[in-house]
């Protein structure tokens, strides 16, 4: 079997660089990054076979961009700039911890090709040369790479130096380039006809009844699945985000493109020690349009953030919002179509929720009434009778009864999100300040495709917003809530334990398990460090750092920590 030994780790520098900052603290920081990067560099060199430098970065081929998705990754540089220039408390320690975990990942990835290709070999690919090809392709698109890992992180680059002004990018990819393998080969050798036939036959059979061959076939399929998962995993991208807190401070952290809002919340909660409650939310505020939306826990954060434009003034807030799950805490106020709020026994609340969300289909709350609609392009609002149905929002045309067949479809909800409008009384001369907005998440500027609705009171507004959420997300919303509650209970149980011993719910735990399995199984067989070990060492490092930064200590002490950090590192590398 050909070992895929010549994969590489590449560190690429981002296009813009800003002037060096003379701030002493920052210099220390840079040194630290430098040290870290030095290590990384060594790692790189050992892997690099000395291919020439990458060709100059390709010019963007587009004269005019029509769609955000044209760019593999874009993110509000504004936020980072702001953070760095103002020199306020960038949570670099947290970032450091993240970097640390990436490094770990990297080291695992390095060994990965071994096992995945050996996996392939086991599956009948031994006769095929799985050759690694080194590519210095800086602009790596996922379509062009079979396996790649691209990561981004800010403020650091290969040449140890100052922070860059923009979102610094370190894209580290290594490619096992098995592209010469033709697809047909892959397909057939992965699952030859016999195997798939056996698999089909054994479908649904209890495992103890299987024959040897059948079990082998099953095992084979399992192996393929693992291999495929690893391939997928290696393509994961990361990006740095800035999260604003309600006290005007902010945190910078790294998120992985697969992470859900829930996972990001968990990692934020752990880092900020702010006490667990299900109400903690990530809120997107679109300043230009004066609107905001609480991200749902199941949503993919990166996907949402990629809708922001390059020069966006949008913010991501980390804050407690009781309205996030008020729907489940007092379902009687939302699900029964009542006009007035009321109390309900806990037992009945549960029954009500179970009735609404427990069945096979979720019924849409009966929501109807007069709302104000802002007329396109004007600052005038007109009254209309609106109804909510599973298929969208409708209104009753003038002079008609509200029979279903006469309703006019105002909007279908598949492609739009519901936002809370802020201070529209003065901005748009709205009748009240209780406004909601419906728009496609990609729309970021004023547009005729944004619909504004105004309610008479806050209660009506909240009922509408929540009913629309139920219509859009259905049972998922309830699952989110239950999950959030479970975590808060768990957090309560653990409160007696020291924070460092808690397995973090951050990016490190979001790594698929196969990775840690893999590391212990790796052919190198050096270390058998468990993944909880990783997290511990990492969080110890990060908490030591954060303490250090908080005290404002500088110089030697910091260096000590760097040493400490490096002392931890070899372990993670070998594993």
């Amino acid at each position: 079997m050909d070992q895929v030994s010549d994969e590489e780790v590449e560190v690429r520098e981002e296009e813009e660089e800003e002037e060096e900052d003379s701030d002493k603290e920052d210099q220390d920081l840079d040194k630290m990054f430098g040290a870290w990067l030095g290590e990384l560099d060594k790692l790189t060199q050992s892997l690099d076979d000395g291919r020439p430098e990458p060709p100059p970065q390709q010019k963007a081929p587009l004269r005019q961009e029509t769609n955000m998705a044209n760019f593999s990754y874009r993110f509000s540089i504004y936020n980072i700039n702001e953070a760095l220039n103002q020199g306020d408390n960038v949570d670099l320690d947290a970032l450091m911890a993240d970097l640390c975990s990436i490094e770990q990942e990297l080291s695992t990835i390095n060994t990965k090709p071994n096992s995945s290709s050996s996996g392939l070999a086991r599956l009948g690919l031994t006769d095929t040369k799985v050759r690694g090809r080194i590519s210095r392709n800086g602009l790596l698109t996922s379509a062009s790479s079979y396996t790649s890992a691209t990561m981004r992180r800010p403020g650091a680059s290969q040449r140890q130096h100052r922070r860059t002004g923009s979102v610094g990018t370190v894209s580290e990819h290594e490619q096992i380039n098995s592209l010469p393998l033709s697809l047909s080969l892959l397909k057939h050798s992965y699952l030859d006809r016999e195997t798939s036939l056996i698999l089909r036959n054994i479908a649904g059979k209890p495992s103890h009844l299987l024959t040897k061959e059948e079990q082998a076939a099953k095992l084979k399929a399992e192996n393929i699945r693992v291999a495929l998962e690893k391939i997928k995993e290696a393509q994961v991208k990361k990006l740095v985000i800035r999260v604003h807190l309600s006290d005007e401070s902010s945190k910078t952290m790294m998120v992985d493109e697969r992470q859900t809002v829930r996972q990001v919340l968990d990692s934020l909660l752990e880092k900020s020690h702010c006490g667990y409650s299900a109400d903690w939310s990530l809120v997107e505020t679109i300043n230009e349009l004066q609107m905001e939306r609480i991200f749902e826990d199941h949503e993919n954060l990166v996907e949402n953030l990629l809708n922001w434009t390059r020069d966006s003034q949008n913010r991501l807030m980390f804050t407690e919002r009781i309205e996030k799950y008020a729907l489940f805490k007092n379902p009687q106020n939302y699900l029964l179509g009542r006009k007035e709020t009321c109390e309900m026994a806990e037992r009945n609340k549960e029954a009500l929720l179970e009735e609404c969300f427990g069945g096979s289909s979720v019924s849409v709350p009966e929501m109807e009434g007069v709302l104000w609609l802002k007329e396109d392009g004007k600052k005038s609002w007109k009254k209309r009778y609106f109804l909510l149905r599973a298929s969208g929002i409708y209104y009753v045309p003038k002079g008609k009864a509200k029979a279903s067949r006469d309703l006019v479809c105002f909007l279908q909800l598949d492609h739009v999100n519901v936002y809370l409008g802020q201070d529209y009384k003065s901005k748009y001369k709205a009748p009240t300040d209780y406004c909601m907005v419906l728009k496609h998440p990609q729309i970021q500027k004023k547009s005729q495709y944004i619909k504004y609705l105004c309610c008479d009171d806050i209660r009506t507004l909240q009922q509408w917003i929540n009913s629309i959420r139920i219509t859009k997300y259905g049972k998922q919303l309830y699952t989110n809530f239950q999950e959030a509650m479970r975590r808060s209970e768990a957090a309560y149980d653990w409160s007696s334990l020291s924070s460092s011993s808690i397995k973090s719910g951050s990016s490190s735990s979001s790594l698929p398990e196969s990775q840690s399995n893999h590391s212990s199984q790796s052919d190198s067989g050096v270390s058998e460090m468990t993944s909880s070990g990783h997290t511990r060492s990492q969080s110890v490092v990060s908490s030591i750092f954060s303490d250090a930064w908080r005290r404002g200590t500088q110089g030697e002490e910091t260096k000590d920590h760097v040493v400490l950090f490096q002392r931890f590192k070899p372990e993670t590398v070998v594993s």
Binding site: A143, L191, L199, A203, R405, H415, Q444
Partner: protein
């Protein structure tokens, strides 16, 4: 004890034969009577299904150990000796009539269980029987001999474990009322069918009829059907349900009478497409007819989506083999390999791009006309160039279609093939029109745009099938525009997919683009997914699952309508046509029926009491509906596989059952 003569009519001797007279004593038990009777007739046959029916009392004498005295039978009793199972014409939700043998002696609840077992429908508690709406027979000459599928030969014990009841041989331990055993769990299947359907090609054909959706009905057929025009009309239908706690004989149903089998309770528990092929199909058929006949109101948009789903389902049902035996895990793996394949193919750029000249118009910039550009499709983006020669260079613009809305604007007759793209951008939506030259080009580009909007590239395996489905839809428009639709299988008259209201509102060719519009969102669904989606949307309609009854509330002087839903009761004012009040079962403390004055009284939390008498249906029906829904809601909690029949009767039976 003194002997006396008892005369019994034996059905098997023919209707003209005189009653058989036997000499009995009052302490003779029913089993003994039967034995004497059988001996006297001197016919050798299997009498095991026969039992005595007491005509005056409208009662079966099923307790064979009871003596005549205990039953109170004297010489003047008119007794009938006949089989308990008799043939019945059963109208299915899909509109087809079956002839099968059903129990005339068990409570209807058990009769339905038996029928469902035979037809392989799980959860029989959700179904019941009702008397059909009389069809207006205007023209007798048009007396089309209706095809009736015959299942009367199926042995009665088939489906589950053999439980035969030999009433007169066994002691009192086994009697009909106690027979509560019924395996709700998965029946054992052969070739995906219950054993009795594998016997012969005829039987297999019947199973196919049960488990495969019917093609869309002709518009005239829809128009001919009875459509309830108002809530009151709908209320009248609910007066036709049979009483679940009494047997068919007691409700005046005769041999070979026609009854409908329908899903009665709108609480469909645990639908598992793998085991519920017949159940799912019949449920879909019932839902489809409810939509077509406007039994449940919906909006125009919803109607178009229902139409699109029906079209899709009928198309896929024809092509797809009926049994879905693939393993989910296998599917996962295959799709993973598939996506890998796509990625690999993406390398080979020739496979994932194609060039073509398309005319293009950004909507607001120009008032009229389209400008020709050279277009190129790559991955999920389209780029355009001034000419083919320039296409190696930089495009004038590149548009990524991921997440955009794609809508057709097509008129085959006038050769208009437009693709309307609504592309989200930070500034709002960009509206772009692509004009294709011909059908072929349109189908390709439309398919590519649709895939791209879902983030799939041209290398995706569904590309060709997408092209095919677009072309077949275009073909539909073509045939529709030539007047009457011929009966080709590719062409469906769009009037077959919507309710008669829209027959009047739109011509078929006007309807086609609208349905096509909705169709693009469902075109990729598998048969099962499409069926499930149809049911889901149906269940999400505000009026879904409401059974209406006209009632008179205590103290009120006018008729009002009571709507019975799976989780609540609603009071509808007939004058306004609006919901006046809602009561939820969750808050219900108790309900009572005063059988003497036929009045229902219900008490809710917080001292809310309501009482009403029923106008369009017997109060037993209303009682059974409410009790039935409460029974349905208990199912999820106790996850047992057997049906708690006792509880059902307790909740729905009223005093008669107890």
């Amino acid at each position: 004890m003194a002997a006396w003569d008892l005369s019994v009519t034996v059905e098997d001797l023919g209707s003209d034969a005189p009653p058989v007279t036997i000499s009995v004593a009052s302490d003779l038990h029913v089993g003994g009577v039967i034995l004497k009777l059988v001996e006297k007739t001197q016919i050798k046959r299997d009498w095991s299904d026969h039992a005595l029916w007491w005509e005056q009392k409208q009662q079966w004498l099923l307790r064979t150990a009871w003596t005549l005295e205990k039953y109170g039978i004297h010489a003047d009793a008119r007794l009938l000796f006949m089989p308990q199972h008799k043939p019945l014409k059963l109208g299915l939700p899909n509109g087809i009539t079956l002839r099968l043998r059903a129990s005339f002696s068990c409570p209807v609840f058990q009769t339905v269980m038996g029928i469902c077992r035979m037809l392989n429908i799980r959860h029989p508690e959700e179904l019941s029987l009702l008397r059909p709406v009389e069809e207006k027979k205007k023209k007798k000459d048009k007396d089309l001999a209706e095809e009736i599928y015959d299942l009367t030969e199926v042995p009665l014990s088939s489906g589950t474990l053999k439980i035969q009841i030999f009433n007169y041989r066994l002691s009192e331990k086994l009697d009909c009322n106690r027979l509560t055993f019924f395996a709700v769990s998965r029946p054992c299947l052969y070739n995906g069918m219950p054993a009795h359907f594998v016997d012969s090609p005829q039987m297999e054909a019947i199973y196919k009829m049960l488990s495969v959706t019917q093609p869309p009905p002709a518009p005239e057929v829809i128009a001919k059907q009875y459509r309830p025009a108002s809530v009151v009309d709908k209320a009248h239908i609910n007066g036709r349900w049979l009483d679940s706690s009494r047997c068919l004989m007691q409700q005046g149903i005769q041999e070979n009478d026609r009854l409908w089998l329908r899903f009665k309770y709108a609480a469909f528990y645990d639908i598992e497409p793998k085991y519920d092929v017949v159940r799912l199909t019949q449920l879909y058929e019932q839902a489809r007819w409810a939509i077509l006949l406007e039994d449940v109101d919906c909006t125009e948009e919803e109607m178009m989506l229902f139409g699109a789903l029906q079209y899709h389902i009928s198309k896929v049902a024809q092509s797809e083999p009926q049994m879905l035996s693939t393993n989910a895990a296998m599917d996962d793996l295959e799709s993973a390999l598939m996506s890998l394949e796509v990625k690999m193919e993406g390398e080979n750029s020739s496979a994932s791009e194609f060039n073509v000249i398309v005319c293009f118009r950004p909507k607001r910039l120009t008032l009229k006309g389209y400008k020709q550009y050279w277009f190129k499709f790559q991955d999920t983006s389209i780029s355009y160039f001034k000419s083919k020669e320039e296409s190696i260079g930089e495009p004038i613009q590149q548009i990524n279609l991921r997440g955009c809305e794609v809508a057709p604007d097509v008129n085959v007759a006038s050769q208009k093939f437009l693709i309307r793209l609504l592309i989200p951008a930070p500034e709002g939506m960009n509206e772009v029109y692509l004009r294709c030259e011909n059908e072929q080009q349109y189908a390709q580009w439309m398919a590519a745009c649709r895939l791209a909007s879902k983030g799939k590239s041209l290398a995706d395996s569904s590309f060709q099938s997408e092209i095919q489905s677009i072309r077949s839809f275009l073909a539909m428009q073509k045939t529709n525009s030539h007047g009457n639709a011929p009966a080709g299988d590719e062409s469906i008259n769009t009037h077959s997919l919507v309710s008669p209201r829209y027959h009047k509102k739109y011509k078929p060719k006007q309807l086609t683009p609208r349905i096509l519009d909705a169709y693009q969102n469902v075109a990729q669904l598998s048969l099962t997914d499409a069926l499930m989606r149809f049911l889901q949307i149906w269940q999400a309609l505000p009026d879904f699952g409401l059974s209406y009854v006209v009632v008179r509330f205590k103290g009120s002087r006018k008729d009002e309508v009571l709507g019975i839903a799976p989780n609540r009761l609603i009071r509808i004012d007939l004058g306004v046509g609006d919901v006046v009040k809602t009561w939820r079962y969750n808050n219900m403390k108790q309900w009572n029926v005063n059988w003497d004055i036929r009045q229902m009284a219900i008490e809710f939390d917080g001292n809310v009491n309501i009482a009403f008498s029923c106008v369009t249906a017997d109060c037993k029906i209303v009682h059974e509906f409410i009790g039935g829904y409460i029974f349905m809601s208990t199912r999820s909690r106790e996850k047992s596989d057997t049906l708690n029949e006792e509880l059902f009767h307790k909740l729905t039976g009223g005093h008669e059952a107890l």
